[in-house]
């Protein structure tokens, strides 16, 4: 499926969207940019640390609510769009529900199991849990005092990048997983962005690398380079300067508009974006040292 169609069909206005769930890597920026291009509105964004993706969606006015542990620019500092929205309501005010990494992972885990809530290990003593609709304390039925809990979070859709998928939604993801499994299992449906589309036999040859049953996947989008500037293990490295450039460019609302015009509104799709990035820069990020996994045989 084309990315525009996947976002058009499965991420309507008002959706609760979990994405950027691997933390600093494998962030499906292409999907975020498509939401911006389609002028999606009133989204709830759910994630741990989605680097500058959430800042961009906030700056473009797509977001009404954030349920996250961290929003900013991991290697360059604060997120100006996030600051403008929360401090000045520009381009619109947003509701921020702060979590910690561990508690947002657990909230999604509870959502994945259909549980109403789950105990957490952090929260007490922090102002994060004060006046927060998602946190409470209860008595333990087994003695030992009060137990902090977090309410389940269930995204409407999780948008997840993978190295390879087949057309039916079976996929392999490798490197660190962050909260990807919990977010996907908690969501009503999953949109996959795959660097490569492969034959089903490739995926089925190694079922331990599969995080989700294919019946939860509503769209498989072939989108090479879809995570730039974040890295994809085995495909491309992190474009560190891009984050600094974004940071400097988006200091003002006008700068944000210029940036969005250049990298989002001004390009119809990811292929055009990569062209705008320039062949040389993109090739440099794809010049990698091989690190093959030792063979495994599922002999039977």
């Amino acid at each position: 499926m084309e990315l525009a169609e996947a976002i058009g069909r499965f991420v309507p206005d008002g959706s609760a969207v979990a994405t950027g769930t691997c933390l600093e890597s494998m962030i499906p920026f292409a999907a975020g940019h498509e939401m911006i291009r389609q002028r999606r509105r009133d989204l709830t964004l759910i994630g741990p640390i989605a680097d500058i993706l959430f800042d961009q969606l906030i700056g473009a006015g797509c977001v009404v609510r954030i349920q996250a542990a961290w929003v900013g620019n991991v290697s360059a500092g604060l997120g100006y769009a996030y600051r403008r929205a929360t401090e000045q309501g520009v381009p619109r005010s947003i509701v921020v529900e702060d979590y910690t990494n561990y508690t947002v992972a657990l909230a999604l885990w509870a959502g994945a199991h259909g549980m109403p809530f789950v105990p957490v290990r952090s929260g007490p003593g922090s102002d994060i849990v004060k006046d927060h609709p998602g946190f409470a304390e209860i008595a333990s039925p087994f003695g030992g005092g009060r137990v902090p809990v977090v309410k389940a979070v269930r995204p409407d859709v999780a948008i997840i990048a993978v190295q390879r998928a087949d057309a039916g939604g079976n996929a392999h993801l490798w490197s660190h997983f962050g909260i990807t499994e919990e977010a996907g299992l908690a969501a009503d449906r999953i949109v996959l962005l795959a660097e490569e589309i492969v034959d089903q036999s490739v995926i089925l040859s190694d079922p331990n690398r599969v995080l989700f049953p294919a019946f939860m996947v509503c769209a498989v989008v072939h989108c090479p380079g879809g995570c730039h500037p974040s890295p994809v293990q085995g495909h491309y490295g992190r474009d560190h300067p891009f984050y600094g450039e974004y940071h400097h460019a988006t200091r003002t609302p006008d700068g944000m508009a210029v940036w969005l015009e250049r990298w989002v509104y001004g390009v119809p799709d990811r292929a055009a974006y990569l062209e705008a990035l320039g062949r040389e820069r993109w090739d440099a990020l794809r010049r990698l040292r091989s690190a093959p996994a030792a063979p495994v045989d599922y002999a039977w």
Partner: protein, 260 residues
């Protein structure tokens, strides 16, 4: 064994932080200075320390390349384990992590850290990125090490917002809250190193960095400074340590700028 010329506060901080790690310990590593401190400890006195990253990585050897984020591909290659965040957080939750590092925008004299809101939450002057894993580490690690740029507006009597609990308003209060981790063990700043009073949980200056006076520290500290009777100059890096730091951060990205 004398340090090379051009010693920076970052290098002193990294060295002080590295020395807080004991051999064989399990360390919840942050990025920037803590990462370099962990690597420095591995190359010197703590070769068997284990590093944990909240994105799901466990490593016993430092990455082969300089990292800007814990998700950079070199941090995956050579890792002992790459898994879900919830697995490494379970290690924290189950009490298996000896030491954790966090930074932030503000810290107070009980080691509480703010990385969320400057000014009131309803109308913040600055919206900071938030906890990430900092609150989890502060709540659950055996010992918490806080790294901070030492400026008067950052070292406050009480932070505007407690993102990551230290001793709250005293050790008793933290204990009453039921937080399993041991709480702050050291606050390492650009000017000196604080410990925390065993009774009250207040920060007490243990050492001042080379070239820094206690008066200077007092001036840059937003609470009535308490100074240990045994206060001394912070040990400077040995030339070996400094060489390792400069190899780990060749551009001085983290260790030759003002703050961690």
């Amino acid at each position: 064994m004398v340090a090379m010329p051009g010693l920076t506060p970052g290098e002193i901080m990294v060295t002080a932080a590295a020395r807080e790690i004991r051999d064989g310990e399990v360390v919840f590593v942050g990025m920037r200075l803590p990462l370099i401190a962990f690597q420095l400890a591995k190359f010197t006195h703590a070769p068997r320390a284990v590093g944990i990253f909240e994105n799901g990585i466990v490593r016993e050897t430092p990455s082969q390349e300089f990292l800007l984020t814990m998700g950079d591909p070199p941090n995956v290659v050579g890792a002992n384990m790459c898994t879900r965040m919830s697995v490494v957080m379970a290690l924290l939750g189950r009490g298996r992590v000896d030491v954790g590092f966090i930074g932030g925008a503000e810290v107070d004299r009980f080691g509480n850290v703010n990385s969320s809101y400057i000014g009131p939450r309803s109308k913040p002057k600055v919206k900071l990125p938030g906890s990430g894993g900092a609150c989890d580490i502060a709540s659950l690690a055996g010992r918490l090490l806080v790294i901070m740029s030492h400026e008067r507006h950052r070292l406050r009597d009480a932070v505007d917002y407690v993102t990551s609990p230290g001793f709250l308003r005293g050790r008793d209060q933290r204990q009453a809250t039921g937080l399993p981790g041991g709480g702050p063990a050291a606050l390492i700043t650009t000017l000196g190193v604080f410990g925390f009073d065993a009774e009250t949980g207040e920060a007490v200056l243990q050492s001042y960095h080379s070239g820094v006076s206690i008066d200077q520290i007092r001036e840059q500290t937003g609470w009535p400074l308490r100074v240990s009777a045994a206060v001394r100059e912070t040990s400077v890096p040995t030339s070996e340590e400094q060489a390792i730091i400069r190899r780990l951060d060749p551009q001085g990205f983290w260790t030759r700028q003002a703050t961690g």
